[in-house]
């Protein structure tokens, strides 16, 4: 685990000017005040966390700092000097580096080429490349930032791509690094490695600003933390002097239950039975390699895994919009996997409800009104028809009832979906699916991009459905969510099930290993768990750290897929 140094560095703080100081930053987009009179001081050699819900103004603030937006008011001081940052070039020359949530890398360039892109020394590439190779080698040794300089980006794992982004900044001699939600795409092991890199950078005197919505990361790595809410900075505290509950309260503005309050499950009969399910996508890549899965009435089965390991395909087959082979039965009756009776309408008719992973692309029509969306997928229900036309009044009344019951805000059925916040959009989807009283609820990433307050509510609704004796299949890349919500956990890697067992005995490290297809002692320590033969049983090479082993395994998988793609 990372050695966490908290409490700032009094020796440095006293003697030097802050690495970054913002004074009175304000920015409005039309009537929306995205940032309001923001002030921060970040001391050199510290990690400063900025935490807040979606839309709290974190990204706007960082975009101002990186020269993407111009602040309406306020000043920026870098190392005590007042600095104007009109564009990203100015930010780079002021020593600011930014690692975006979505990487800005050229997929079919090598690591080296990406690093020098835009920072070439002359018209000929060779000298720049040679220089970069040397610098990269040195950086790798200093900060554990190991990446093969000649590998193509498209063949690298997400974790490695992120390292390239960090290297790009360091190559441009950034001494202030801003990372925007850096762990969203990483496995727990990769995230640990990232934190170790950040720790090394801090030790060398670099200043790091970490933007995140994950309380655990803030507690783990930062020295100081600022909380943003609705465009304002509500508090800046030393991490050592606070705790997650306090931070959550500062973020949301009221007390929040961080743990899901639920009783032990009382599983009933088997509702969903999946046997030897195989799926090949249109590129010919095998996405599911023979999945066996049971979900009983009255239990929540959580599927853990790094995104892109077959979980989405599993949901799509069950939800009726991808073809597969194998056997699936629901309440003992077989489900069609191809053909006319395998579409979403047939699935709904059989009592399968589905909260899809991507509510903006799949779950909702963003340009439809709330009342149109609240019937989406069930719009052929006779109760929404009157003769040849649709019964809009029935749909609107229905929606108003759901809005009230699920506390959707603003409570206006005549707003289009895109005018609701992420959390309230998700509430509309969850309300639509749960209110149909399904036998089986499929839930994908129920709280992705959802604010803490709504997370609490959505989790309660899912547990309540379980307590009514319904079966719930949950897919999430958030391990915390899997651990707190599930009764049983299944881990998937590369289209296969690596292991399954009760949630009580699972732990982060063991699940992290399984998510990378590794067996070994950490997984065996989880009592009551069945570890699949597919998980590499060979003990991890003692000369390598666990993280290196995980890395290697993920790298292998992505390289394999890249070869197939090419």
């Amino acid at each position: 685990m990372v050695d966490v140094t908290t409490g700032g560095r009094p020796d440095q703080a006293a003697s030097t000017a802050p690495a970054i100081e913002l004074k009175g930053i304000s920015k409005a987009f039309g009537p929306v005040q995205a940032n309001k009179d923001i002030a921060i001081r970040v001391m050199p050699g510290t990690i400063h966390g900025i935490i807040g819900e979606n839309g709290a103004g974190k990204s706007t603030l960082m975009s101002i700092l990186y020269g993407f937006y111009k602040a309406d008011a306020g000043e920026v001081f870098i190392h005590g000097r007042k600095t104007e940052i009109p564009d990203s070039q100015a930010a780079i020359s002021a020593g600011i580096g930014m690692v975006f949530q979505h990487f800005k890398l050229v997929e079919n360039f090598s690591v080296l080429e990406n690093v020098i892109l835009g920072a070439e020394d002359g018209p000929l590439l060779r000298p720049s490349l040679a220089k970069a190779r040397g610098v990269l080698k040195q950086l790798a040794a200093e900060y554990e930032l190991n990446v093969d300089p000649d590998a193509l980006i498209q063949n690298l794992s997400v974790g490695h791509q992120q390292r390239v982004e960090i290297l790009k900044s360091l190559y441009r001699q950034a001494d202030i690094l801003i990372l925007d939600e850096p762990t969203g795409v990483l496995t727990p092991a990769e995230a640990d490695h990232l934190f170790r890199i950040l720790d090394n950078l801090r030790r060398e005197g670099k200043t790091i600003i970490l933007i995140t919505h994950k309380l655990r990361e803030i507690m783990e790595i930062t020295d100081t933390v600022s909380v943003m809410r609705r465009g304002e900075m509500t508090a800046t505290v030393k991490t050592a002097e606070t705790d997650p509950a306090e931070l959550a309260e500062l973020m949301v503005g009221r007390k929040v239950l961080l743990r899901v309050d639920k009783t032990a499950a009382t599983p009933g009969k088997n509702v969903l039975e999946v046997r030897d399910l195989r799926v090949k996508d249109d590129k010919g890549i095998v996405r599911l390699k023979g999945i066996d899965l049971d979900v009983h009435a009255g239990e929540i089965v959580g599927i853990a895994g790094v995104s892109g390991n077959g979980q989405s395909e599993l949901l799509e087959v069950l939800g009726g919009y991808a073809d597969g082979t194998g056997q699936i039965t629901l309440n003992g009756q077989p489900l069609d996997l191809t053909g006319k009776h395998s579409d979403g309408q047939s699935r709904r008719a059989r009592g399968i409800a589905h909260v899809p992973e991507d509510r903006q692309r799949e779950g909702l029509i963003m340009n439809y009104f709330a009342w149109e969306n609240a019937a989406f997928g069930y719009h052929r229900d006779p109760k929404y028809q009157s003769g040849l036309l649709m019964n809009h009044r029935a749909m609107i009344e229905d929606t108003e009832r759901k809005i009230e019951k699920f506390d959707v805000r603003p409570p206006n059925a005549h707003l289009t979906a895109k005018n609701f916040s992420g959390g309230n959009q998700q509430k509309i989807v969850v309300a639509r699916e749960i209110e149909r009283d399904p036998d089986l609820l499929l839930v994908g990433q129920p709280t992705r991009g959802v604010d803490i307050g709504a997370i609490e509510f959505i989790h309660q609704q899912i547990v309540a459905l379980r307590d009514q004796g319904k079966a719930v299949l949950l897919v999430s890349v958030e391990l915390d969510e899997i651990l707190s919500l599930s009764d049983r956990i299944v881990v998937m890697f590369d289209g296969e099930i690596m292991g399954y067992g009760p949630a009580e005995t699972a732990n982060q490290v063991g699940l992290g290993c399984l998510m990378a297809g590794l067996g070994g002692t950490d997984t065996e320590a989880m009592q009551g768990w069945t570890i699949s033969d597919a998980a590499s049983a060979e003990p991890v090479d003692p000369s390598k750290s666990l993280i290196e082993a995980v890395d290697e395994k993920l790298h292998e998988k992505e390289a394999r897929e890249a070869r197939k793609n090419g």
């Binding site: 409005a28 039309g30 009537p31 929306v32 939800g319 009726g320 919009y321 579409d343 979403g344 309408q345 047939s346 699935r347 709904r348 589905h354 899809p356 991507d358 692309r361 799949e362 779950g363 909702l364 029509i365 963003m366 340009n367 439809y368 149109e372 989406f376 997928g377 719009h379 052929r380 028809q385 040849l388 036309l389 649709m390 809009h392 005018n419």
Partner: protein, 364 residues
């Protein structure tokens, strides 16, 4: 929050685009050495001040309503049907067959029959591109425009070799029987004392077009099919999630679109020429794209835009008749209107949005 009120989006944006297009057209007319004010006066006089002028304006507008609706319906499913031209040509074939080979007792029945024939033939012509798009992923823009050429060639063949009366010189069918003659506005509204719409081709088909507007509005915003078409248009993954078959929905939307385009030829073939000639469509299929763009794919907008383009067509003819301004100038004006209302939409929209935002901020 929406950036500006709905009325501004629906009315102000096209209106300003139109003014900009008019301004540039005026510059062109000055360049030719004519007075833009006089030219505009002439257009208004010729197209709108006399009932006969209206008779022409509405005749053209009828065509544009049908082709505009065709583009609009397809567009709600995110299909860009630019094959209205070909679908209308083949629709004309349907009209001709129905009128020539079925002995109709009365024009009203003949109108119904030819409407069915026209829409069936038009829809059939849209079916193949629709199927290719839905099943094979062949781009609808490519296939529909190719089908325009095939339709022209097919019509040519049929008129020259099959339907041309023996001994006739021009590639056209025989004149339709008198029973299929549709009442023109002149027949309907003239009294002995006050002749109206004299010689103008506008006919009862105009009311068919108005009915089509209402039906399309009902279809898109009030029926389950419309709901599914719009859903698919907004997001295909969402449609698949909801169990809406993209293949089926695309094909149905394109059939309706092709049918509407085909209906246009009832106006030109049965209503005006009373026989099927080679070039009865005269580019109305393409004007439909501009009409749909300008009308924001809403039937009411399509109706208004079609009247505007009808005015431009008729006014342009007047210009060519009475001034040295060539008829081609009207194509320039139309192109400018299309450019501003379609392609340069954001140029007008963004400053407007900014104005509305600052107004709102001042208020709050």
């Amino acid at each position: 929050m929406d950036r500006m009120p709905g009325w501004a989006d629906a009315i102000l944006v096209p209106l300003i685009s139109l003014l900009l297009a008019a301004f540039l057209s005026a510059l062109v007319i000055i360049g030719i050495g004519e007075s833009p004010v006089a030219a505009f006066k002439l257009m208004v006089e010729g197209a709108l001040m006399r009932s006969a002028g209206w008779g022409y304006t509405l005749y053209y507008a009828t065509n544009f309503i049908f082709t505009g609706l065709a583009v609009a319906v397809a567009f709600h499913a995110r299909m860009f049907n630019i094959g209205g031209e070909g679908q209308a040509m083949i629709g004309g074939l349907g009209v001709a067959l129905v009128c020539l080979y079925i002995p109709w007792p009365h024009w009203s029945l003949a109108l119904l029959g030819s409407a069915v024939g026209a829409s069936l033939f038009g829809a059939a012509w849209a079916l193949i591109p629709a199927y290719l798009q839905a099943k094979r992923g062949s781009h609808i823009v490519i296939t529909t425009i190719m089908f325009n050429f095939i339709a022209a060639a097919l019509l040519n063949y049929v008129l020259v070799n099959v339907l041309r009366p023996v001994g006739a010189m021009d590639p056209a069918t025989a004149k339709f029987p008198d029973a299929t003659h549709l009442p023109t506005f002149q027949d309907m509204f003239s009294t002995a004392a006050a002749p109206m719409f004299r010689g103008a081709p506008a006919n009862v088909t105009f009311f068919l077009a108005v009915i089509a507007c209402v039906l399309v509005w009902l279809l898109i915003w009030r029926t389950r099919l419309g709901y599914e078409i719009r859903a698919l248009g907004h997001s295909e993954p969402a449609a698949r999630y909801a169990g809406i078959s993209p293949v089926r929905t695309v094909v149905i939307a394109m059939l309706i679109s092709g049918g509407l385009a085909g209906l246009m030829s009832v106006n030109t073939t049965q209503g005006e020429a009373e026989r099927l000639i080679l070039n009865s469509i005269e580019g109305a299929g393409f004007i439909g794209i501009a009409v749909a763009l300008m009308g924001r794919n809403h039937p009411l907008g399509v109706f208004l835009a079609a009247i505007l383009f009808g005015f431009l067509y008729q006014g342009g003819a007047e210009l060519a008749l009475w001034t040295t301004i060539p008829r081609e100038l009207i194509v320039v004006i139309q192109a400018l209107v299309i450019l501003f209302t379609g392609a340069l939409d954001n140029m007008v929209r963004m400053p407007l949005e900014r104005i509305f935002l600052s107004l709102r901020r001042r208020k709050s």
